[in-house]
């Protein structure tokens, strides 16, 4: 496992691309005239964090929280909350070799294709 020291210095280009694309809730909500304060995936993200904390051992709760604090501050300082929380979790899982970056990139593409197939 990657040591704590290395976590913030690991570059995850897949996540950097997402940051650059800048589809943050604040911006898209304003574009569509939505006033809800948090994005619709926020409660699902919270539940994912709870489930990781309670149901498994891949990313212990204190490690996850420490990573989140450090990574949001040191790597994704430009992102608002809760986008920074989500990206920090992804960064932490990749940097700790729980999820492979190539695997994540492939899944992002597959999920995007599936959701776009739903049409509009």
């Amino acid at each position: 496992m990657t040591t704590d020291h290395d976590i913030a210095s690991v570059r995850v280009r897949t996540l950097e691309h997402i940051v650059e694309h800048d589809q943050i809730w604040e911006r898209v909500a304003a574009e569509y005239g939505v006033t809800h304060a948090v994005p619709p995936w926020k409660s699902s993200l919270d539940a994912m964090c709870d489930a990781l904390d309670e149901e498994g051992s891949a990313l212990p709760v204190l490690t996850r929280r420490d990573d989140e604090d450090r990574i949001t501050r040191e790597v994704y300082a430009s992102l608002p909350h809760p986008e920074n929380q989500l990206v920090a979790l992804a960064h932490s899982l990749v940097a700790r070799n729980v999820i492979d970056e190539t695997e994540l990139a492939a899944r992002l593409e597959a999920v995007r294709a599936r959701l776009d197939a739903g049409g509009s």
Binding site: S44, V98, R107
Partner: protein, 235 residues
């Protein structure tokens, strides 16, 4: 795509009609975590319900009473608005929740051992707020709204609900004047239970149709902690 292109019903909020990278990232991470055995889809659904802390108390009591009282059940199926009044919910004056547009045709969808209902609002986020409270956030996402009508079994599986092939799945699409709530089949193992006991197992997700009531499973139950089925270990 920009501008005023969102479909809106009176009294409902506008929606973001765009799949964002962050929504995709949340789903991708969740799917990979489930596949790696870090938690199950059913775990995730339960935690989401807990996180949102909604209390669809009237709807839960409504179903429990319908299970116990054949006369109330008939009323619920014939005139759900009158049955709601017996539960203290007046759709004409839904204090606390909703808007005048929530005065609608309200219908209770009766599940059977071979028929399962699930509700959605494909156009926006119509929901039986007077009786179920505020809708969960996922109910308002394009992901759920678009896909549940096309691939209901796939989407239900993402909530941890796998239905046998011989169970027909019927998706009811809500709109500004027509709202629905699911009346699930009373599960085995609840014989002799009181209305209060039954109410506890009728969670919000059961009333939407993305979960089935089970003895011992309540929104406020102590959640079991167990190791991952296929834990990820470091090399």
């Amino acid at each position: 795509m920009t501008g005023n292109h969102t479909h809106q019903h009176a009294g409902t909020a506008p929606m973001v009609e765009e799949v964002t990278d962050f929504e995709v990232l949340e789903i991708a991470l969740r799917e990979l975590a489930i596949e790696k055995g870090l938690f199950t889809a059913e775990d995730h659904r339960r935690y989401t319900e807990h996180v949102e802390q909604l209390e669809p108390a009237a709807g839960s009591r409504f179903v429990a009473k319908a299970w116990l009282d054949p006369e109330f059940r008939r009323l619920a199926l014939d005139d759900a608005i009158a049955a709601s009044r017996e539960m203290g919910v007046d759709w004409l004056h839904p204090t606390g929740f909703g808007t005048p547009s929530d005065f609608t045709a309200f219908e209770v969808l009766e599940d059977t051992p071979t028929l399962h209902h699930v509700i959605v609002c494909t156009l926006c986020s119509c929901y039986p707020r007077p009786i179920l409270g505020m809708s969960p956030e996922w109910y308002r996402t394009p992901n759920y709204r678009r896909r549940i009508v096309r691939w209901p079994r796939q989407v239900l599986a993402e909530f941890g609900l796998y239905l046998p092939e011989d169970v027909e799945v019927r998706v009811e699409d809500s709109n500004s004047k027509h709202r629905f709530m699911v009346l699930p089949v009373r599960p085995d193992g609840t014989e002799g239970w009181s209305e209060e006991q039954l109410t506890e197992i009728v969670t919000r997700d059961c009333l939407i149709g993305v979960a089935l009531p089970k003895p011992g499973v309540t929104a406020n139950a102590v959640r079991p902690v167990h190791p991952a089925i296929r834990p990820v270990t470091s090399d």
